[in-house]
Amino acid sequence: MIRQSLSIVALFATSLTTSCSRKTASAPLPQPTAFGSAIVESSGGKQTSQAGMALPQPLVVQVNDQQGTAVPGAMIEFSAAAGVAFDPAYGLTDSSGQVATNVTLGGIAGRYQLTAFTIDKSRKKVALTIEEIALGYQQTLGRQLNDQYCERCHNPESTVERVSNFDNLEIKPHPFSEGDTLNKMNDADLTAIIGHGGPALNKSALMPAWGNTLSKSDIEALISYTRAISDPPGHDAGPVYAKN
């Protein structure tokens, strides 16, 4: 019995020391050769991906000096709530003052606030917070339905592959991220307008009834997607994950 407990203690001790030694073994950070005074997003903010998965585009941030000129050789570190991975997690800005990192969001759907920070000449932290959205299964399904049926009218942005019909409509539809409007509508109203068309809520007939094309769960998925991407977020937008 004593021997057993002794061996358990020994095991515990070794595991403790190994876990400690692993922490100290991480490589030293590269030394910055320059310091900026501001950090700005270059691209990659406000993306949506599926929970636990990599964002489609890398996050690119830039360090500027007081004149707004890019600063090469400054140190940028990324951090976020547990579960978010950055590849790389830190780096020195390149010749155009930028660092790009590939971001994998946490495994739970919600809004993830990522922080990028650098240190200025007086060793003070300068930080920038960027928000990304992770979708759950239902919201992913909603996004797919949005792409297939809704986006052509509801998204005012055109791409090379998809020309938006938004500008051609006399009464403009609401983009799904338009939180100011959509957050005021409850789920029952949204279900009615999707299923029975605009006239169900005394709105434009240009919004057709989709109730015979989409199933009940399809409509729920679409609503759940709009709630997830709404800007500003509504009360049921899902949890926000920031660094403690």
Binding site: N168, N212, Y241
Partner: protein, 681 residues
């Protein structure tokens, strides 16, 4: 010391009563160990934590009523599931707990399956029967399968769902990439349903490569395919200069000329760039081929190769012969035979040959190859398995060139060699191997791909779904993929359709591409006269699409041949095209239809009937729909568009027969040319 021990023993066991008491106490303690262990167990700790958490919530009463203490177990003998996860994850079914930020007390996200019917480990893996976090989540000595990281969760969908699955885009993409990037040329993948996975990248034959390009270009391409075209699916084999020199020497020396292909330039390549650009545009080359624009964006389709630097690659005489009839060089090509005349070939080839990058071949200087170099090149071409993908004269396609991946999702971790510092899990291994294969050994032949992190994750997801359980599931538990048919139209028209590569874009009877409309029922849908005219000179039906039907310069005979075949063979059993007349509807019905079109159904949101007022840009323009579609098809379409073309963007409006008939009457009166029956009266 000895004395002390002796006195202690004396004190404890001095007389029989005392000894009995001491022994009883020891027994009592040891008997209490098991209940105590149970009492202090991890899951009890979590259940206490849960009860404490819900106590202060507004919905505490409901949550408390739902709560059941003790070990919770889902037992599904059919699936081999014994899951006790809900002993700690107590709130999985409580949707109102959605504001709890982290597990173990969050509700499960909404999915199409019920927890009680599938359990947890079917999707998440891990050890279901365990009642401690460490044993349930991690791999232990007795249990190798840890919890699957969230980023690969869709691989579990793929065990049962064999085809594309809405809501699992990562799995779908991974499976697509395995075919599209030709992974399965070298790695055999026998799918759980017994079929062999097929590649969809169609690498060209190299047997006549000397007709097509120069040794210098081959050298540069072998060194870095992505330097020539960023979108190239050919991976980088990280060849040394000598290797690329010798392999290019062999490929040129081994190439045999195709009869007729070495024809001298019959027309001088024109240097009129604007005429070339407009012919390139009119022919809708961009539907299949991409070109990098001035802003650096690659724009265009990915059916054919990127053409940004094609002038560096192809020989002028080969390009002209190819444009004249690509099937002379490659019988299986996805490229249509455009039937260009000499002037058009000259214009287009001149335009394409000007697409060069002066840097690409600037530093490539190769001396004439020696026989030794050619022999070494041949050896290298065999060693690297080039013939797994490409047809190469005189070299046999190697069998099982790379390890089979049919059960890769079950590869034991003990059989893997990990890199220092990496997590010892199968998903991490697969992802790292795809990302940088040569890190695992310089002698490895697997080339370097330029996948994005998201693409690597999706590939790993698709591969993890190839496991023992997927292969051994009873068919009743699986959702089969729709098999790709090998439908081929018959006769003269069938030959013509192959020549025009209709199936590169259109789908008919389950075979073909998805770029253009499915034509399975085209014969019920359109009017004969319109189809003949359209084939001869396709006008634009959907103004917003960048991919459109090109003009193939068909003769009258060819257009009629095709039309006859389509009108006869491709008919829907549910739409009789002659059941409704193409004109002669009462004026009142036409007017009613117009009102419905602009009022109740607001069709102008997506369609254009009157070019002056309507702006709808999504559906086809309907100004001439009365000369294009049959009335019976319009009526059936109004009643249920998805029944005729699944997935179409037009919503089903559940119209009454009267409304559908009135709209049919209105639409069939739109004969085009501003002479619609309504406008006249």
């Amino acid at each position: 010391m000895k004395e002390k021990l002796k006195s202690l023993l004396q004190k404890l066991f001095g007389d029989s009563v005392r000894a009995f008491g001491v022994v009883s106490l020891v027994f009592l303690f040891s008997l209490a160990i098991a209940p105590a262990k149970n009492h202090f167990s991890e899951w009890r700790h979590y259940q206490h934590g849960y009860l404490k958490m819900i106590r202060n919530r507004s919905d505490a009463v409901t949550l408390q009523r739902h709560f059941e203490g003790g070990i919770q177990q889902i037992w599904l003998p059919d699936l081999g599931v014994v899951d006790r996860c809900m002993s700690c994850h107590v709130g999985l079914k409580e949707a109102s707990l959605n504001d709890v930020p982290t597990q173990p007390f969050r509700p499960h996200p909404v999915i199409p399956h019920k927890l009680d019917q599938f359990g947890c480990t079917i999707c998440h893996r891990g050890q279901g029967a365990a009642t401690t976090v460490a044993e349930a989540h991690n791999s232990t000595l007795a249990w190798e399968q840890p919890i699957l990281p969230a980023k690969y969760i869709e691989s579990s969908c793929g065990e049962c769902h064999r085809g594309p699955l809405p809501g699992a885009p990562q799995l779908n993409q991974g499976r697509h990439l395995l075919s599209r990037y030709g992974c399965v040329h070298c790695h055999m993948v026998k799918l759980p349903d017994g079929k062999i996975m097929k590649a969809t990248d169609d690498p060209p034959s190299l047997s006549h490569i000397g007709d097509k390009t120069t040794r210098e270009w081959i050298y540069a391409w072998l060194k870095d395919p992505q330097a020539y075209a960023g979108t190239a699916t050919m991976p980088n084999f990280k060849l040394s200069d000598d290797d690329a020199r010798d392999m290019s020497a062999f490929l040129i020396a081994n190439s045999t000329p195709l009869p007729g292909d070495t024809a001298t330039l019959s027309a001088k390549a024109s240097s009129d760039p604007s005429a070339g650009a407009s012919l390139y545009g009119e022919s809708f080359c961009a539907s299949c081929h991409a070109v990098q624009n001035a802003a650096g964006n690659v724009v265009g389709g990915d059916v054919g190769p990127e053409l940004t630097r094609v002038g560096n690659k192809v020989k002028p005489e080969w390009l002209q012969a190819w444009l004249r009839n690509p099937r002379d060089y490659d019988e299986e090509t996805a490229m249509p035979h455009y039937r260009y005349n000499d002037a058009q070939v000259a214009t287009l080839s001149g335009f394409l040959l000007a697409k060069t990058d002066s840097d690409l071949l600037a530093n490539v200087h190769l001396e004439a190859a020696t026989p030794e170099q050619i022999a070494r090149g041949k050896r290298l071409v065999s060693d690297y398995g080039c013939a797994s993908c490409h047809e190469i004269g005189g070299i046999k396609k190697p069998e099982n060139f790379a390890p089979e991946l049919s059960r890769i999702g079950n590869k034991p971790v003990t059989q893997l060699v990990f890199l220092p510092g990496m997590q010892h899990t199968l998903p991490d291994y697969i992802a790292a191997k795809i990302k940088q294969p040569r890190l695992f050994g310089q002698a490895l032949k697997m080339p370097q791909y330029s996948f994005t992190p998201a693409q690597i994750d999706s590939l790993a997801t698709a591969l993890l779904a190839l496991n023992d359980r997927a292969a051994t599931l009873p068919p009743s538990l699986t959702v089969a993929a729709t098999p790709e048919s090998d439908y081929q139209p018959a006769g003269k028209a069938g030959k013509l359709m192959t020549d025009l590569a209709c199936f590169s874009c259109h789908r008919i009877n389950g075979h073909g591409g998805d770029m253009a409309p499915d034509l399975t029922w085209e014969g019920s849908s359109v009017q004969r006269q319109w189809l003949v005219g359209f084939l001869k000179n396709p006008n634009t039906l959907r103004p917003s699409l960048i991919r459109r039907m090109p003009r193939f310069n068909l003769t009258d005979g060819e257009a009629n041949e095709l039309t006859d075949y389509i009108m006869t063979v491709y008919q829907s059993p549910s739409v009789d095209r002659d059941s409704m007349p193409l004109s002669g509807y009462p004026q009142g019905e036409v007017e009613l239809g117009k009102q419905l079109f602009y009022g109740k159904y607001a069709c102008q949101g997506c369609h254009i009937v009157d070019t002056k007022s309507d702006k709808g840009y999504i559906g086809p323009t309907l100004t001439q729909v009365g000369s294009r579609l049959t009335a019976a098809w319009i009526f059936a379409w109004m009643k249920n568009p998805q029944a005729l073309r699944p997935g179409t963007g037009e919503p089903n409006r559940a119209m009454s027969d009267e409304d559908a008939r009135a709209l049919t009457a209105f639409l069939i009166s739109q004969k085009g040319g501003g002479k619609s029956e309504v406008a006249k009266k």
